[in-house]
Symmetry: C2
């Protein structure tokens, strides 16, 4: 599967356009092939990715910044280089304690987030 | 599944110890749960992760540095923020053009890389 509206550069990178999500949050699909999806999510300081859940497994990896990450009713602080695993159907969300970026990995692909043709 | 020999810190991060791989290459499993695995791989300048293949799907994301990434006989340059998808059973390898770090994502888990009990 290839993401629509993508650019394939010399480096063979598939990257969709930036999309607004919640206020102060924007996301960009980097890869969506087979059963793996990789998404970059940028947060302004204080911005929040609201709690939600989905059948897909997820790992969030903190590239930069500092986040309060909620998972199944608990709270974890994530800083650069730290990650967290989100099992299927478990509620989770993230609030940026300072401006920062998360890398979200999913299996299978989040079809609900793919650009519509 | 939980990786053996791991430390679970206050942030809820599961991280195994660093392990030597090829010369100048060391790796560390960050997460290995359900059907998702996340691994950090550090390369000295010029070091090489030799070409290999496996039944697992993979995405490699460049955190830092510059890599010559081989995939199915072709060559791609990856710099920070760029990624590449590796389908099942396709030969791939990476050579560090400068010191750097890759983040490797797998589905399912690479049982062959888990610490032995």
């Amino acid at each position: 599967m290839t993401v629509e509206s993508t650019a394939r550069g010399a480096a063979g990178v598939v990257a969709a356009a930036w999309e607004d999500a919640e206020p102060g949050v924007r996301r960009r699909i980097l890869e969506a092939s087979g059963r793996l999806m990789l998404m970059e999510v940028q947060f302004a300081a204080g911005a929040e990715g609201y709690e939600h859940r989905h059948a897909h497994e997820q790992i969030s990896y903190c590239i930069a910044g500092r986040f309060e990450y909620s998972l199944d009713g608990g709270t974890h602080v994530l800083t650069a280089g730290q990650s967290i695993y989100v099992p299927c159907n478990v509620r989770h969300g993230a609030r940026a304690l300072e401006a920062g970026t998360l890398l979200d990995v999913f299996t299978p692909i989040r079809d609900d987030l793919l650009p519509r043709g």
